[in-house]
């Protein structure tokens, strides 16, 4: 579907992005990533100095990576959508619904784990498909379309689960839980969930940087009309972008339910904001047309490091969100400042 054999209209169309601009964009993006990465290092070092014996240990680094998995998966999808100048508010409760669906497939219908996972991913893609359809064909603003989907998913998660958590069987579904908390390398203390996150990032990276979908994503986000004028079926590609995002949402649902050994229908609200925060910290612009999968990963790690570090130094919890919010303001402000300077030149 994403084969590079198709002629790529963007390459011939100076109306969309000139090669120079594209090059400049790439450098800017690299700088942004560097900035985010530097931020991650600084925060990590700061906590290491404050709590040297407890924070900067192998097992705690594993804790940090592990707790970034769910938000990381969701944020991969959020990035794809935000680059297209859209927004997806349904990733949090969509995650909860996908978790419930995973439990429905495996626990209630008794399907094998691998099939349950595939169906759950397909279901997530389907939620995204509806989102994309609402945005393109019904012409709803992405904020409204996905806000509605957020509510629908929140409700359906409760309806389908009969307002009760669904528990996986510790024996029959041991392999499902193994995906999150098991150790592929025995005794390494390295939970499989981290491999899944790495895999998700690699897939998102390829999708975004090496396929037509990613290129059109950027193009639609920077100038939708020009993209349409250059003969690209914007609607089709937008639907696919939302569907891809939905698949990552489903992956988030799989990872959280595999970790907890149960599908919790009432969770999920608020996760979308964390995913959007990770995306924005990573340098993806809410205005669209610019983004980075690696940046988003770094953003998710920054959130995880801050949460973990503040818990370890036992800062009263009410302050933890204040710190996190402040970091977002600082990071995005620096980003905008740099963009303004670039434009002034």
């Amino acid at each position: 579907m994403f084969s590079a054999a198709n002629p790529d209209p963007i390459q011939d169309s100076t109306a969309v992005v000139t090669p120079e601009e594209k090059q400049a964009g790439i450098w800017k993006q690299r700088l942004q990533q560097l900035l985010a990465f530097a931020g991650l290092l600084i925060i990590f070092l700061a906590f290491s100095i404050v709590a040297p014996t407890t924070f900067a240990t192998y097992s705690n680094v594993m804790n940090i990576l592990f707790s970034a998995v769910v938000i990381g998966c969701l944020a991969m999808g959020a990035t794809l959508v935000i680059v297209s100048a859209g927004i997806d508010l349904s990733v949090g409760t969509g995650m909860a619904l996908c978790a419930v669906m995973a439990a429905t497939f495996m626990v209630r219908w008794g399907l094998p784990v691998w099939l349950g996972i595939l169906l759950t991913l397909a279901f997530g893609a389907f939620i995204g498909l509806i989102n994309g359809t609402a945005v393109t064909i019904l012409g709803l603003p992405p904020f409204i379309a996905t806000l509605a989907m957020m509510m629908i998913c929140q409700g359906l998660a409760l309806v389908v689960s009969n307002v009760a958590p669904i528990y996986f069987d510790p024996v029959d579904h041991a392999s499902y839980m193994w995906i999150s908390t098991g150790n592929l390398i025995p005794g390494s203390g390295f939970p499989n969930a981290i491999f899944v996150l790495i895999l998700a990032v690699v897939v998102a990276y390829i999708l975004f940087n090496k396929t037509i979908l990613g290129r059109y994503d950027v193009s639609i986000g920077s100038n939708m009309e020009a993209t349409a004028l250059s003969g690209i079926n914007v609607k089709k590609w937008l639907i696919l972008i939302y569907a891809a995002a939905g698949t990552f949402t489903a992956l988030g649902g799989i990872m959280i339910s595999a970790r907890l050994g149960s599908a919790q229908p009432a969770t999920g609200a608020g996760y979308e904001m964390q995913a959007i925060a990770a995306t924005v910290i990573g340098g993806t612009s809410l205005a669209g047309g610019k983004g980075s999968v690696i940046g988003t990963l770094i953003g998710a790690l920054i959130i995880s490091v801050i949460n973990n570090g503040l818990q370890i130094i036992m800062l009263p919890q009410q302050w933890q969100n204040v710190v996190l919010g402040t970091v977002i303001v600082v990071v995005v402000f620096i980003d905008q400042l740099r963009n303004k300077q670039a434009k002034a030149r």
């Binding site: 709590a51 407890t54 924070f55 240990t57 097992s59 705690n60 804790n63 592990f66 707790s67 769910v70 669906m101 429905t104 209630r108 279901f123 389907f126 498909l129 509806i130 359809t133 609402a134 064909i137 019904l138 929140q154 359906l156 409760l158 309806v159 389908v160 009969n162 307002v163 009760a164 958590p165 528990y167 908390t181 203390g189 939970p191 609607k235 959280i256 970790r259 907890l260 050994g261 149960s262 919790q264 229908p265 009432a266 969770t267 609200a269 949460n307 973990n308 818990q311 370890i312 130094i313 036992m314 009263p316 919890q317 009410q318």
Partner: protein
């Protein structure tokens, strides 16, 4: 073409949903206008949590027994104070014979409750009190005493030494603060030599509470116990201990029941927990409401009770009756 596709997609979603929720029972619609039986409206704090489902089932049992009609509603989450106020207004419009009300915010409802008083509709508070003299009685668990009892058991498990982490589900609501304060008070009283760490708040979210538990364990390698103030906090603590690879080395005391927690207690991975009696609470609300409709005087507070359960008594009939999945 496209519109057809969109419509088909939407239709498919509906079917998918309908087929999944197969064992969903349709709610009986209550029409207060035509029923001869007294109609009691119950407004809870939510309906998602298993606790509220258990309250609901208790209320339904008692309503069937006493021959009254009832409805059981609640806001989508336990932070939707405004939505709950709207439900109070809606209930008033239905002119019920009595209402049961579990206030999310103990003060916000005062004005609306006055309207019930003016209309002569008796108000029964449950789960948490209301700062008002309008409710005829309050049927609730004494959360502070219950958490203090949890501390007493934690002290017994720890033999008066060690270091304990506290994971609380909420730092604002009365149930959160009462359980936190009750536990801290109990620890200070029953085992003053045990160090109790600054309470952390996980919003009752299992994943978040598990992350907090791991952080506490990392920061305090000499930790000997964790208290979780509700089901989500306690299960989160258990997950955190398991993920940190220190299962069995840390004493775990929880609160509430629910399948995951009762399973853990039965298996001994959780040392024990306090359970409220939600079914009894639901029954008490309906009974108090019917008594009020019949003009009987009610006590100011109905203690619906709490119990400590662990692997030794979990299957005893009196405990099994108050545990819910």
């Amino acid at each position: 073409m496209r519109k057809t596709f969109a419509a088909l997609a939407a239709l498919a979603l509906c079917f998918a949903m309908a087929s999944c929720g197969g064992d969903d029972k349709g709610e009986p619609t209550t029409d207060p206008g035509t029923a001869d039986k007294p109609f009691i409206s119950i407004i809870s704090k939510g309906f998602q949590h298993q606790f509220w489902q258990a309250v609901k089932s208790g209320a339904e049992q008692q309503a069937a027994e006493m021959g009254v009609e009832m409805e059981f509603v609640g806001p989508a989450s336990e932070s939707e104070v405004e939505q709950q106020m709207g439900m109070l207004d809606t209930a008033l419009a239905k002119n019920p014979a009595a209402i049961g009300f579990a206030a999310l915010d103990s003060r916000a409802a005062a004005a609306t409750l006055t309207k019930f008083k003016d209309a002569g509709i008796p108000v029964i508070a449950f789960d948490s009190g209301v700062d008002s003299d309008i409710p005829l009685t309050t049927a609730a668990t004494d959360n502070k005493a219950a958490a203090k009892h949890a501390a007493e058991n934690m002290c017994r498990l720890l033999d008066n030494k060690g270091k304990v982490g506290v994971i609380v589900h909420d730092q604002v609501s009365k149930s959160g603060t009462d359980r936190r304060d009750g536990f801290l008070e109990g620890m200070a009283e029953y085992c003053p030599d045990v160090e109790v760490l600054e309470p952390q708040y996980g919003g009752g979210d299992q994943a978040k509470s598990a992350d907090i538990a791991k952080s506490i364990i990392t920061a305090n390698p000499d930790l000997t116990g964790i208290f979780g103030s509700n089901e989500g906090s306690a299960i989160g603590a258990l997950k955190g201990v398991e993920e940190a690879g220190v299962a069995g080395q840390i004493k775990l005391v929880g609160f509430d029941s629910g399948k995951a927690q009762t399973d853990a207690v039965r298996a001994g991975t959780m040392d024990g927990a306090i359970t409220q009696d939600p079914v009894g609470m639901g029954k008490a609300v309906i009974k108090a409401a019917v008594d009020a409709i019949n003009g009987q005087t009610l006590p100011a507070f109905i203690d619906t009770g709490f119990y400590w359960y662990d692997s030794t008594n979990i299957d005893q009939p009196n405990i099994a009756a108050v545990l819910y999945d």
